[in-house]
């Protein structure tokens, strides 16, 4: 009987304890959501900036646009720094869904800037550095490898657009360079065993990007445009 009364206490107490935990959890999520909204805002700004490379006039301005983007990434780093303060670092995957989307977008933007700058594939380390985060989970807030890969795949589809638009802008050699680059990427992705998840779906899209770029290269080459020195490209 006494035991019963004691346990009655403990049930209520137990639920209060759990409720405390749940409240704290909601607060953390609320905080994260706010920072993530800011990150999304910055990401949209960087994207708008980089979109201009698709404009005929935009090709010459690539270096300056990249420089400006690099500046905006410092805002990203500040916001990332703030995000890290919102939750215990070892619980990264508990809240992963909140920032997964924006992190993939930012990885894409970093990869895109690096590509525009020197036409190489960004490394995971570089992206992490540009975003002010870690590569290795043990070291802190990090860039999950699947998010890095998703970012790279978004870039691939942006590059197929770029191949199309660079021809419109009169730069006939860029498509071939993009083609080589994207083929190497494709070879890389073929090494991976993906699950039936969003990344797999995105990777299926890569095949279409490769195909589209191949078509552009073909169009350019049957017209003999690739060989003549072009004026629109900058490399």
């Amino acid at each position: 009987m006494k035991g019963n009364r004691r346990s009655e206490m403990s049930v209520t107490e137990m639920f209060s304890y759990i409720q405390g935990f749940l409240s704290a959890d909601q607060d953390v999520r609320e905080d994260i959501r706010k920072v993530v909204q800011n990150l999304e805002q910055t990401a949209r700004e960087i994207l708008t900036l980089l979109q201009s490379v698709h404009q005929p006039s935009g090709f010459k301005e690539i270096p300056s646009k990249c420089a400006k983007a690099r500046e905006l990434f410092s805002t990203v780093r500040t916001q990332m720094a703030e995000l890290k303060t919102k939750f215990p670092v070892e619980q990264y995957y508990r809240f992963h869904e909140h920032w997964r989307f924006v992190l993939q977008r930012l990885a894409f933007l970093a990869a895109f800037v690096v590509y525009l700058e020197n036409e190489t594939l960004v490394t995971r380390e570089e992206v992490a550095q540009i975003l002010g985060i870690e590569v290795v989970r043990e070291k802190g807030f990090h860039l999950d490898v699947e998010d890095f890969l998703a970012g790279v795949l978004i870039m691939a589809s942006e590059l197929s657009r770029l191949a199309v638009n660079s021809v419109t802008a009169g730069d006939y050699s860029r498509p071939l360079r993009i083609s080589n680059f994207i083929n190497e990427l494709d070879s890389g992705f073929r090494l991976l065993n993906l699950k039936n998840d969003p990344l797999r779906k995105r990777y299926d899209g890569l095949k279409y990007d490769v195909k589209k770029i191949e078509e552009v290269v073909y169009d350019v080459s049957i017209r003999g445009l690739a060989k003549e020195p072009e004026s629109g490209g900058d490399k």
Binding site: S7, V11, I18, Q19, L22, R94, V145, N180, S187
Partner: protein, 268 residues
């Protein structure tokens, strides 16, 4: 162009080298996930069997024997949880949480059911977690781990999350309802009233948490409410039925009930 491209499959390429690293990372992650799923399935099955075993407590003479046997089964389950802890050593447990959450919930259900039968109270999250401390080697004695964990790198712990705890307790209520109906059928008239009180407390606890908990809890709330209703109905029937006891039999009934209680208490 085709020839050019083949070069890119060149294994010396930096890109290819990087992707080989990714391949390994993804494969080992996926493999680990798969191993965890398998352990979780084992945990689920063994926990369910422990629960079935515990329901036998009602109508066997040797309740303590059954409890011991169930305790033994759960020791086995804890060893499996130890394997999970081993797999998760140094990992972020939330990364693989989906792989093992069903098993852990079932374990919470089983261990809290055993606890209720023994102590007529709700096991706490701390009490559950206190028994999930493991020696590093797989063959270590799990009994020892329930005591103060020896310091040093040899100790591994597993932390049940509050959400898994809640979900396990929500399922516990279904087993308690079965226990209650079974008790009535076996002529035990105290347990149902105790259980209805206890279930009402848990129900009120879940009402208090309401929709602030994880989504799956809200789904289980309906079942919980049904279980409570069944238990309340059972108590109601006992009460209505008891109202007809002829005066001269009252003492009789009261006596036998007390005896019954004593026996049970003695056993625990």
């Amino acid at each position: 162009a085709a020839q050019e491209r083949d070069v890119h499959a060149n294994p010396s390429s930096a890109v290819i080298a990087a992707f080989k690293v990714f391949q390994q990372e993804l494969d080992s992650r996926h493999d680990k996930y798969e191993r965890l799923v398998k352990i979780s399935r084992d945990i689920t099955i063994e926990s369910k069997r422990a629960i079935f075993l515990l329901h036998r407590v009602i109508n066997v003479p040797n309740a303590e024997g059954v409890l011991k046997e169930a305790e033994g089964k759960l020791d086995g389950v804890r060893q499996k949880i130890g394997q999970i802890a081993e797999e998760l050593r140094g990992e972020d447990i939330y990364q693989f949480h989906r792989a093992f959450t069903p098993g852990i919930q079932e374990y919470v259900e089983a261990v809290s059911f055993l606890h209720y039968i023994r102590h007529r109270s709700l096991i706490s999250l701390e009490e559950i977690n206190a028994r999930l401390v493991f020696m590093n080697t797989e063959n270590s004695d799990p009994k020892g781990s329930a005591e103060a964990p020896p310091s040093g790198a040899l100790v591994l712990t597993f932390q049940v999350t509050p959400a898994d705890y809640l979900l396990g307790v929500a399922d516990l209520t279904g087993e308690l309802m079965r226990l209650c109906i079974g008790s009535v059928g076996n002529g035990d008239i105290d347990t149902p009233f105790q259980l209805s009180q206890f279930l009402r407390q848990i129900h009120d606890g879940f009402s208090y948490i309401g929709n602030t908990g994880p989504y799956e809890v809200s789904k289980k709330l309906h079942t919980l409410r049904q279980s409570l209703g069944k238990v309340e109905d059972a108590c109601y029937t006992l009460r209505v039925r008891g109202s007809e006891i002829p005066k001269h039999m009252l003492a009789d009934v009261f006596c036998s009930r007390t005896t019954h209680m004593d026996t049970e208490e003695g056993v625990v």
